[in-house]
């Protein structure tokens, strides 16, 4: 059952791609953010079912934002998005509380599998 999602990435292109994938699959994209600070602010207001979070971003990075969101809502479902080479950042993010991760470049079905799995439980 698709729910609501917040897409966080500093690259406009990535955001558009993710938004398209989610919208086409029937998800409600409640917002997008280009850095961690914006993401935390939107999360505070909207409490979406899912957040896809880029890790490396200006102003406030993904892991810091993840921790802030978990402060607001300890059960928040955050999935990190990262490039293949940033394995250690992904490990750090999962340790910090990310539910799952998506590796760039991604296929739409991979994104949806992770999203449904995380929200479904």
């Amino acid at each position: 059952m698709p729910g609501s999602v917040l897409v966080v990435d500093d690259a406009l292109f990535m955001r558009k791609m993710l938004i398209d994938i989610f919208s086409q699959a029937g998800w409600k994209v409640i917002g997008e953010a280009e850095n961690g600070e914006e993401a935390v602010a939107i999360y505070q207001q909207q409490h979406p079912d899912l957040v896809t979070m880029d890790i490396v971003m200006p102003v406030m990075g993904g892991i810091e934002a993840l921790k802030a969101i978990l402060q607001i809502e300890s059960q928040a479902r955050v999935v990190v998005c990262s490039a293949l080479g940033q394995k250690h950042l992904i490990l750090d993010a999962i340790t910090a509380g990310a539910r799952d991760f998506i590796v760039k470049p991604f296929q739409s079905d991979q994104v949806l599998e992770v999203a449904e799995r995380v929200v479904g439980c």
Partner: protein
């Protein structure tokens, strides 16, 4: 301390101490006042205690500590009685079970019940029954018996470590995670290989866990391996991935490698100068070195039969005690070395043979001797279990063989006693009814035979009524490199493991007689049937020749002469298993490449002829 790093070392060393303890206890059984042995036993227990405590294996340390205390009392008193020996043996069994828990990555079982048994001297008038290690069923009653979950990632998963981390965290939704391989630390430092094994006390059923994990497309396989159940008797010697190699042997290997390098330069020089005699000389030295190197490397894999023999001594001791018989076990040749893979395969068959000897060899007697012997004969190792018990009555076997249709009426009359005994290994024989009085003897012997033949060996049975029975195993030294007899049939070269060959001879047509449709040959004052390899392999018929090359071998307990086109000779070959689906070809147990590049298949006469027999019916 990074315990994982030392775990293997602990396991290898503790296994040695445990084996020593069993051996000493069995010696004490016959010499209960030996101060030397009691002291030695005390030291072994002390070593285990120290090692286990360092590794934080608390249950092992507690138990070893208790044994040490008990032994200290015995030491002060200067003797150990049989009840105490049994109790100490039970303690060693429990230590072995704990050793197994550790090596399997399980939580150590509790030693509480053993610790509640009486200390030596506390109560000597009522015998204390030996305490068995806690049973698996007993552990289930504490609820939430830990299970193992094994997750295999698909090879294509790009970043394994984060995936495994997510899965490990997911597992905590299924229950309490007790342990994982790789550990959390290993995952975080990216020391992973696409697999995850988790030990947990589950809250969900395995089915539900499976459903949850199946949602991860990166997961290729989910399984729930069962921890192996231990039995205190006849347990396998501990397999360990690492091998201890003496520094002397390593130095030797290094020297050989050094010599190889020298030869290489020598050969390069000779080649440059086109100096043939030097080249010839170099190749000669090279082959000598390679042979030596090969020998040395094989040696590394060799282990003595000592551990196996001591385990069997224990089996005899326990069985004799439980059946109130006095049986002396004589061992000889425990220092004989053989490939460790073969030793592992020998545990079950030999345990079985020894049990048979105790149970049935001494059916009518209360005391006797079982001898366990090993010796080398060229490229083979022979292991023999013999008893001086009741023996086997050939007439009874004759009758059963006839009843079971294993022999025809005519065969029953002519078959020699020796050949008759080999029939005991026939699968049909093992179901023989219990009133025959030799039951049991045959029970499971077909399993023994299959196991031994599976490693290229041979089982020979001999018996004299009233004097005893002996079963001899003829085994190859190594599984990978064996000696074969090369033969040729219809221009195809094939190899037969030398362990399967009794003799290779050429016979003249004058020695061949026909008995009905069957051709027989006079071999050592005995007529044996001739079978043509060409016919068996459905190759075209050959032309008549002046003499017939023959491979005398034993199949299903009977000697036969296999007629081939040519006997080429013996050779050492490196046997390789055939890859599926070729491993399904009946009658072919492997392949090897000869020096000239030709691929030669290894004939498995047993399965080849069994199949033929079935086809005939």
């Amino acid at each position: 301390m990074d315990k994982e790093k030392y775990r293997n070392m602990y396991l290898v060393e503790a296994a040695e101490h445990l084996q020593a303890m069993s051996e000493i206890l069995l010696r004490l059984d016959s010499e209960p006042q030996s101060h030397q042995e009691i002291d030695a036993l005390f030291r072994e227990a002390h070593s285990i205690k120290g090692m286990a405590a360092t590794m934080e294996y608390e249950e092992t340390a507690r138990l070893a500590h208790r044994l040490e205390d008990d032994l200290d009392l015995c030491r002060k008193r200067g003797s150990v009685d049989t009840t105490e020996i049994d109790q100490l043996l039970a303690g060693v069994d429990l230590l072995e079970a704990l050793h197994d828990d550790i090596s399997q990555g399980r939580e150590e079982r509790s030693v509480e019940s053993y610790l509640h048994t009486l200390a030596p001297g506390e109560c000597s008038d009522s015998p204390v029954s030996p305490v068995q290690p806690e049973k698996e069923e007993g552990r289930q009653t504490d609820g939430g018996e830990p299970i193992l979950v094994r997750i295999d990632l698909a090879e294509t998963v790009p970043v394994a470590a984060p995936r495994l981390l997510v899965l490990l965290k997911k597992c905590s939704d299924f229950g309490i995670v007790l342990k994982s391989w790789p550990s959390l630390d290993q995952i975080l430092t990216d020391k992973v290989d696409g697999r995850l094994l988790v030990q947990l006390r589950p809250r969900l059923t395995t089915q539900d866990i499976h459903v949850q994990l199946a949602k991860y497309s990166e997961v290729e396989e989910i399984s729930f391996p069962r921890p192996t159940v231990n039995s205190s008797l006849g347990e396998r010697p501990h397999k360990s991935a690492s091998v201890r190699v003496s520094t002397g042997r390593l130095d030797h290997l290094i020297n050989l490698t050094g010599e190889l390098i020298t030869i290489r330069y020598q050969l390069e020089n000779a080649l440059k100068q086109q100096h043939l005699p030097d080249l010839d000389d170099g190749v000669g030295q090279l082959s000598r070195l390679v042979k030596n190197l090969h020998h040395q490397v094989l040696q590394v894999r060799m282990v003595s039969l000592r551990a196996l023999f001591s385990r069997l001594s224990r089996v005899v001791h326990d069985l004799a005690r439980s059946s109130a018989k006095t049986i002396e076990l004589q061992t000889d040749g425990a220092d004989i070395e053989i490939d460790r893979a073969i030793v592992e395969e020998l545990v079950d068959p030999l345990t079985h043979m020894v049990r048979n000897a105790v149970d049935h060899g001494f059916r009518d007697k209360k005391e006797g001797i079982i001898s366990l012997k090993a010796w080398r004969d060229r490229d083979q190792v022979l292991v023999q279990v013999a008893d001086d018990g009741s023996g086997i009555d050939p007439q009874v076997i004759r009758r059963i063989a006839r009843e079971r249709g294993l022999l025809s009426a005519a065969q029953v009359k002519t078959v020699r006693d020796y050949d008759l005994y080999q029939l005991i290994c026939q699968p049909g024989f093992s179901t023989a009814d219990t009133v025959t009085g030799i039951s049991g003897r045959g029970v499971g012997m077909d399993v023994v035979k299959t196991a031994i033949e599976g490693i290229g060996g041979l089982v020979l049975i001999d018996s004299t009524p009233g004097e005893g029975t002996s079963i001899t195993l003829k085994l190859p030294l190594s599984l990978a490199i064996i000696r074969v007899l090369l033969i040729e049939s219809a221009d195809v070269r094939m190899a037969i493991p030398i362990t399967r060959v009794i003799q290779a001879v050429e016979v003249s047509p004058a020695d061949i007689h026909s008995s009905g449709k069957q051709l027989m040959v006079d071999y050592q004052q005995d007529f044996i049937p001739l079978l043509s390899l060409r016919k068996i392999l459905k190759q075209p018929k050959g032309t008549k020749k002046e003499s017939l090359p023959l491979v005398v071998t034993e199949v299903m307990g009977r000697r036969i002469g296999l007629v081939v086109d040519r006997l080429i000779g013996q050779q050492e070959v490196f046997v390789q298993r055939l890859a599926p689906p070729f491993d399904q070809i009946p009658g072919c147990s492997g392949g090897t490449i000869l020096g000239d590049g030709q691929v030669v298949f290894l004939l498995d006469l047993q399965s080849l002829l069994e199949r033929r027999k079935k086809g005939e019916r």
